[in-house]
Assembly symmetry: C2
Homo-oligomer: 246 residues x 2
Amino acid sequence: MAGELEIDIDRSSPVPLYHQVAQAFEQAIREGALAPETKLDNEIDLAKRYHVSRPTLRQAMDKLVRDGLVVRRRGVGTQVIGPRVRRSLKLSSLYNDLQESGAQPRTSVLTLETVTAEDEVRDRLGLAPGTEVYHLRRLRSIDGQCLGIMENYLPLSVGTLTGAALERDGLYNVMRRQGSDFQMAHQTVGATVATAAQADLLGISPGSPLVTVQRTALDSAGTAIEFGDHVYRADLYSYETTLMNH
Amino acid sequence: MAGELEIDIDRSSPVPLYHQVAQAFEQAIREGALAPETKLDNEIDLAKRYHVSRPTLRQAMDKLVRDGLVVRRRGVGTQVIGPRVRRSLKLSSLYNDLQESGAQPRTSVLTLETVTAEDEVRDRLGLAPGTEVYHLRRLRSIDGQCLGIMENYLPLSVGTLTGAALERDGLYNVMRRQGSDFQMAHQTVGATVATAAQADLLGISPGSPLVTVQRTALDSAGTAIEFGDHVYRADLYSYETTLMNH
DNA sequence: AAGTGGTCTAGACCACTGT
DNA sequence: CAGTGGTCTAGACCACTTG
């Protein structure tokens, strides 16, 4: 019932207050310091305790709700959600993929060239006919096991790409360093079966199931900066999400 | 450049103001009344025009950003995002599935029984060993084509389920009518290939690719009220999402 | 320097839940 | 009924981008 929690709020930090508060709660929940089913104190008391205004504290709670760590009910209160539904079923998450792309264990570049964009690629990236784009094919592996084949198309305006930089830092880190910071991405996840060529690269049998991911990434101006068409071994990869009703 | 937009705000409506504003903008964008790349007026002017406070207007804009309709940049402004990245690639979306579950064209119930929950199901639903649960198998089709096989497990406490009600109204509508309103769901999307039995039901060849979806749905108290294990034809089904960087 | 969105405050009233 | 989260206001200051 308590929900006591010591938080060091650094008001001189550039990190927003609501973010500091949300992060402290998230850490406490993930570490188990706040057990599932625990009822937190009400918003007004929490705001007083951490010396922030109620709207600021609410902003933090909104974040926890969106991240699926906590449930709020009007007239009742705020409760920590059980860990059962937070547990992962399989391996890596596509979301982490996006945010920590460079941190993945191992990526080898198979192809790095510039080509004239085909229609679908042109359309996705919003380019004029005949425009040249980067075409990139990479093999991602984890603990020596091949996980998937990643194919990317990027406008030349993202800067200079080299195989060495890509293998060392990952695509998104290379792009960020050159000033292309992505803001959002649209994705389509589906399924297919491995062709002979794919099976050969991945070390599996033809006809094995593959998870397909198509992604269009946009920068903060809403301009498309990358189109990706990826396949992953279904036995090593799945895509996880949390859906909210509001 | 204008971004003018007539909105009827009904202050006596139970619908929150920020929701009314956001919905008006969303409709205008989807209908094309606000063209892509259009720059909206600044927050303060918009707040004045619609006679709401700036925080309320910001709450509406936050929603548009989360839904991927609009991009904001500090010091620059707010822009409508191009439709290119909003376009669907394939058929139905799992998100709509959740929110409009009863509205799907056709669902036939193959199995409706109560069984003793297996370990995985018990774990997902947070039930004690030996507990009885509903076991439900349905075939979903669209325009006479079989789309997928849906298998669900539910605690008996959700109420009475009948095949007729399920086929007429859909699972979530039946549950809602009996007081089980879901708040959030965790999902895992992956791939597999059709077994002979699955292929037979779906009218495809064994070995064809299938999209797999496992879903645990929670009510507003954080209690698990449904576990679903579904497969869909990969040529008719894919899963779409928008990822935000923050 | 001017204009934008990002953050924050200190209140207020309401709708809903439990007793 | 008292307590909770949900909504809303009218300001304020700051960080960032653009000219």
